[in-house]
Subunit: 187 residues, 2 copies
């Protein structure tokens, strides 16, 4: 997904504003397995995914907990680092070789204070993230594991093909054994 399309997701920006933004974005690539952002660090970079798929996970005593997947067009950012300037929860691991658009968050902040179009664009970006996070929370609290799995199959069939089931199980909040049982029952 190219950078113009990604930017336009959060509302049209005037030509000039858009140029100011793209000027501070660089394209980077990293191999599968690379860790883009690290848990416990205050991160100062954010990314948009041009191509590839990534996961966010935290290391717990009980093992790794996967809590987010990002795909083409998605925004990769430690909101806790960016908003509160505090250590982030997430390791972001690339599950495929990825092409990314990289941006320093301080450049973003600077633009917010200079340009009202930008401030509103940034507002919409965060609003979209909030809606998605809210949907996740609602899904976790209202639905059974079976319902969450079915929902995922319908809304994100590509995810099931691209990501191994251990990560999916963790994302759904159940053990891999439980997920296997659910899949067996659906046959």
């Amino acid at each position: 997904m190219n950078i113009d399309k990604i930017i336009d997701q959060f509302g049209q920006l005037p030509e000039q504003s858009k140029n100011a933004l793209t000027a501070s974005i660089t394209e980077v690539t990293f191999p599968k397995g690379h860790i883009l952002l690290k848990e416990g660090k205050v991160e100062h970079r954010m990314y948009f995914i041009k191509k590839g798929i990534v996961r966010a996970y935290s290391d717990k005593a009980s093992g790794q907990v996967t809590f987010w997947f990002g795909q083409e067009g998605d925004t990769v950012i430690s909101m806790r680092s960016y908003v509160a300037n505090e250590k982030g929860y997430e390791n972001i691991e690339l599950l495929e070789n990825c092409e990314l658009y990289e941006l320093e968050t301080r450049n973003l902040r600077a633009l917010f204070n200079l340009d009202i179009h930008f401030a509103n664009w940034g507002r919409k970006l965060v609003e979209r993230e909030l809606i998605k996070t809210e949907e996740r929370l609602i899904s976790m609290q209202f639905k059974t594991a079976v319902e969450r799995y079915n929902e995922l199959m319908q809304t994100q069939p590509g995810l099931l093909r691209r990501v191994q089931l251990g990560y999916i199980a963790s994302y759904l909040g159940i053990s891999q054994v439980s997920l296997s049982r659910i899949r067996a029952d659906l046959r």
Copy 2:
């Protein structure tokens, strides 16, 4: 909590901007039990809580699921209505007689497009909400019910005193019986 303090939570606004905002805010009161926002409706009003406590819940086949509590200083808004113009998930019920600051979201939108200070203020408001929602999600996915209950006791002891345990149990994602068991074990 007065309106100035509430507004200041999301960054200082110039005198003039602040006046424009307060001009479109009215103070209202409603009795305990009143439903402020309704599930399945696109809502056009938002509120800040001056005094009192409220809960957000959804009606499910299995009963009501409580997924949020709001207290003094908190923002009450259907993000889905406001951001996506779609039907909201939540009923907002007042758990005490409440004093609220009411605002039409279209007035907010108008200010965002006129005033960069406002656009950034609104951005910060949403950022704060996002951080809180993210924390909730992380808590639901990473922690056991016992840990979530202890966390709630430490960070929100007032909530335990003001809200009945059935709602707390639902909020924690467990049955009331389970919560009783947890409380019994801690004695």
